[in-house]
Amino acid sequence: MIRFSLSALKSPGTLFSIRGGVHPETRKFLSAGAAIEAMPLPALIRVPLQQHIGAPAAPLVKQGDTVLKGQLIGRARGPVSANLHAPTSGKVIAVGHFPAPHPSGLPVATITLRPDGEDRWGPRLPRLRPEDAAPEEIAARVAEAGIVGMGGATFPAAVKLNLRGKYPLHTLILNAAECEPYLTCDDRLLREHAEEVADGAGIMARALGVARIIVVVESNKPEAASAMRRHNLGMGHPIEVKVVPTQYPMGSEKHLVKAVTGQETPARALTAELGIVVHNAATAHAVHVAVRYGEPLISRVVTVSGRGIARPANVRALIGTPVADLIAHCGGLSGEPEKLLLGGPMMGQPVANLRVPIVKGTNGVLALSPSETHRSAAMPCIRCGTCVQACPCGLTPFELNARIQADDLEGAAEVGLLDCVSCGCCSFICPSNIALVQGFNFAKGRLAEKQARKHQQEETKRLAAARSAREAAIAEAKRAAMAKRKAEMAAKKTREAAEAATQPGGEVVK
C-alpha cells in the first residue's frame, strides 16, 4: 500500500517495513513519561500454577506453610513448563482453584499467599559468573529461575536458550518493539535499565552461542533507542540497535525478523531455522537478575494505563498482585471502564474480575473508556478489502470469515486459517466491525479439537487392530499347541497299539 512505501521513504534508515499492518493510535504518552515505580505489598498474592505455555507446575507447598521470598513453591513439570517462586515472604492460606487471568474466567490451580509484610528473602540461587559458566549452566539457571517470555507469549525461556546445537544459530534479536498501543513497560525498562538489559542479552547470547545481538526498537521510542546505544556491549558482544517503523504488529516474532533482516521465516518453521532467536527485552532483564544475583522471576514491570485509570503509570509489581491493587495504586478507576484488559488492546485479554492476579506475561493492565474503543454494532461485510490490505500474513480475512460462518472449517484452513497469527489488524480496521479474530480463534480451536479427535480415533483403531492381531496370534498358537498335543496323543496311541501287538496274549500294561 502507498502509506507503507511512503513511510519507508520518510525514514530510509528503517529498511524493511512489514507488508500490511495497521497504525492504531498508540496513546503511549499516557504513561511513557512515568518512571518505573515500586508499589506497596498487596494484602494477598495469588500465584497461578500455570502462567506459561506448557504443563502447569506442581505445587510444593500446602495450606499453612510459611514461605520466604524467592522460595520455590511450584516445580516445573515436564520439559515445557516453568518453576514458580514465592514473590514475598508470608503464609500459604490456600492451594486451590481461583478464576484465571484469562477471558474464560475458568478457575485454575492457584497458590494464595498472605504476605507477612517483612518481605524476607530465603536463600537465593547460587551466583553464577556467566563469563565462566558453560552455556548449559546458564540455560539451567534460567530454567531454575522460572523465566518465561515476558512479551506475552510466556514460552519458557530456557527451552529457547537450549536451541543451540539443534540449529546453526548466529543472531539474537532482542524484541523491544512494543508495538501494542498503550504499553510502555519495555520502553521504560530500556530507558532506565539499559545496562542490565544489555548484560542480560550478552548472557543469553553466550547461552545460545551467538555473536550477533540486535536490539529492535520502534521509531516512536527514541529515548529507549539512545539509552541502548549508550550501553551497547553485552558481555563483550557489541549490540546493534535497530529502529523499525512504528507499525503494528511489528513485534510479532516472524515479522520482526523479516523487518530487521529481510528474511522471511517459512510457514510452520521456527526462526531458529534461519539461525535467529528472538527474546523479549524484559526477559533479558530477568535473565540478568537471575544469573548475576540469583533472584528468580518474582516481579515484572506492568503498564497501568488507559483513560479509565486516574494516574497511568509503570509499576514494578510482584507476580500474583491482584489487578485491583494495581489499579488502586494508580489512583483507581476514573468512571466505569468500557473494557478492562490484561495486556495490550490488540491482543490482550479482557478480565471480568478485578481480583485476578497479574502473571509473568502480563505487560499491561488497561482500563479503556468508551471514547477509546470506538465500538459500534457489526454490519455485514461490504467487501471493502481493507482487512486484506491490513493482514500482515497475506490472508483474506473476509473470506476466512465467510467460510467459518458457513461452518466450512476445512475450506478456511485451505485459504490459510492456520497461518493467521491472531494479531487483530483485520478486526481493528474492518469498517463493518466484524469480530473476525474471534471467529478465527474459535475455528482454530475447533480444528485442533477435530484433529485431536481424528488422531485419537486413528490411535484407537490402531490399538484395536493390534489387539485383534495379538488375539489372532494367541489363538493361532493355541491351535498349534492343540494340534501338536493331538499329534502326540495319536503317536502315543499307535505306539501303544504297536507294543500291545508285540505282546500277544499279554495284558496291556498301563
Binding site: K258, E264, E372, F398, S432, V437, Q438
Partner: protein
C-alpha cells in the same frame, strides 16, 4: 453458525465504520454535485432530491419486506450514496419518474434482491443507468446546455419541468458531447473539424457543457476523488488503472489515426470517465479486494469504456464497462490473492535455503 461470546482482541477499533465511509464519499462527491446542480438549475435540484428520497424509501421498504433490521441499515448511508450516484447519471432535466424508476432499479433490483448491503454482484447505480438507457432511450438522452441557476428556469417552471409537461423546454435539448462526436463521425466528418465545432477541452474540464450531473466538471470530480485517496477510503490503484488504460489506448489510436479517433484528453475529461474512475470503479462491494486485482479490474473497465465509445452503439460506455467487469470480479478474486507470509505463491512453505539467500 453462532460463535460463543468469549471476546478476543482487538479491544478497540479504528475510526472507520460503514456510515462514516459513506459520508466521506458523499462529502467528496459534493463539490462536483453542487456545481452541477448550480449549472443545471432548479430542475436538476428537484430531480436530485426526488431520486435520493426515492432511494431511501425503497431501501426502507425492502428492509421491512425482507424482515431485516431497518434502523442500522437505512442509516448506514449506502442507500443515499447509491441514490446519489444514480442521480449523477441522469439527464438533469429528466422528469421525476425517471429518477424514481432509477432509484427503484438500483435499490431493489440492484441491491436488495441480492441480499442487501455487501451481497450484490453488480454496481446498483450502473444497473439502474444501463436499464434506464435501454428502456427509456429518449428521456435518457435529452440533455440541456448548462445555463446557471440565475439564467435557467425559476422554481415554478422547474416544478413544471420535473413534475409535469413543459413543452417549451424540449427545444432546448442538445446532445451530450460524446453523442455529438459519435453522430458526426457517423456522418463522415473528420475528427479535427468535429472537435473544432464543439465544447472545448477547457469547458469540459471545468464542467461548462451539456451532460448529466456527473459528467460536468472533471476537475471537481478529480479533486474529490483525490481527497478520497488521501482519506485512504479508496486505493489510488483503481482510478489510476482506469484512467491510465483509457489514456494509453486512446492515445495510441489517436497517434495512429487522428482523423478518426478522439484525442486522449478528450476521453479523460468527457462523459462519466472521472466519476467512474474515482467513485464507481472504487465501489467496495463490486470490485476485487486485492490491490493487484483492482489494477486488473480498473484496466478492464478503462479498456471497455474506450472500446464501447469507439465501436459500440452507445456513445457512452461506462455503465456497460463497469457491469461487464463486475461479472469478472469473483474470478479475479479467486485467482489474484496475496501471497501468504512464509509461503510461496502456490501455498507451499518457503524453502529454507532460498529465503536465507535473500539475506542483505
Amino acid at each position: 453458525m453462532r460463535l460463543p461470546q468469549v471476546a478476543s482482541g482487538p479491544h478497540f477499533h479504528s475510526m472507520f465504520n460503514v456510515p462514516r465511509t459513506m459520508v466521506a464519499v458523499m462529502v467528496c462527491l459534493a463539490p462536483a454535485t453542487g456545481f452541477g446542480l448550480y449549472q443545471f438549475g432548479w430542475p436538476a435540484m428537484l430531480l436530485f432530491a426526488v431520486t435520493l428520497a426515492a432511494a431511501l424509501v425503497f431501501e426502507v421498504l425492502s428492509l421491512v419486506i425482507a424482515g431485516r433490521p431497518v434502523l442500522p441499515f437505512a442509516t448506514d448511508g449506502s442507500a443515499l450514496l447509491t441514490g446519489w450516484l444514480v442521480a449523477m447519471t441522469l439527464p438533469p432535466w429528466a422528469p421525476w419518474w425517471v429518477g424514481v424508476l432509477g432509484a427503484f432499479i438500483a435499490i431493489v433490483i440492484g441491491k436488495q434482491v441480492f441480499g442487501g448491503l455487501g451481497q450484490n454482484l453488480f454496481n446498483p447505480a450502473m444497473v439502474a443507468r444501463a436499464m434506464l438507457l435501454i428502456a427509456l432511450p429518449v428521456p435518457m438522452t435529452q440533455w440541456v446546455a448548462p445555463m446557471g441557476l440565475k439564467d435557467g428556469p425559476g422554481l415554478a417552471d422547474a416544478l413544471r419541468i420535473t413534475f409535469g409537461h413543459a413543452p417549451g423546454y424540449d427545444t432546448m435539448s442538445s446532445a451530450s458531447v460524446l453523442g455529438q462526436v459519435q453522430s458526426q463521425l457517423d456522418a463522415g466528418r473528420p475528427m479535427p473539424e468535429i472537435l473544432g465545432g464543439m465544447a472545448s477541452l477547457h469547458d469540459q474540464f471545468f464542467g461548462l457543457m451539456a451532460g448529466s450531473l456527473g459528467e460536468t466538471s472533471a476537475l471537481l470530480l478529480l479533486i474529490g476523488g483525490l481527497c478520497l485517496v488521501l482519506l485512504r477510503i479508496i486505493q489510488f490503484v483503481t482510478p489510476l488503472a482506469v484512467l491510465g488504460t483509457i489514456f494509453a489506448l486512446s492515445g495510441a489510436a489517436w497517434l495512429i489515426d487522428p482523423d478518426h479517433f478522439v484525442p486522449p484528453l478528450f476521453h479523460l475529461t468527457s462523459g462519466a470517465t472521472m466519476l467512474c474512475a474515482f467513485f464507481i470503479a472504487t465501489d467496495y462491494v463490486t470490485a476485487p479486494v486485492t490491490t493487484a486485482g483492482r489494477a486488473i479490474y480498473g484496466a478492464g473497465i478503462g479498456a471497455l469504456i474506450w472500446v464501447i465509445r469507439v465501436w459500440g452503439s452507445f456513445p457512452e460506455g461506462v455503465a456497460f464497462a463497469v457491469l461487464l467487469m463486475n461479472a469478472v470480479t469473483p474470478l479475479i478474486d479467486t485467482y489474484v490473492r496475496p501471497r501468504i507470509f512464509g509461503r510461496t505463491r502456490s501455498g507451499k512453505p518457503l524453502p529454507l535455503a532460498a529465503s536465507a539467500g535473500e539475506k542483505p
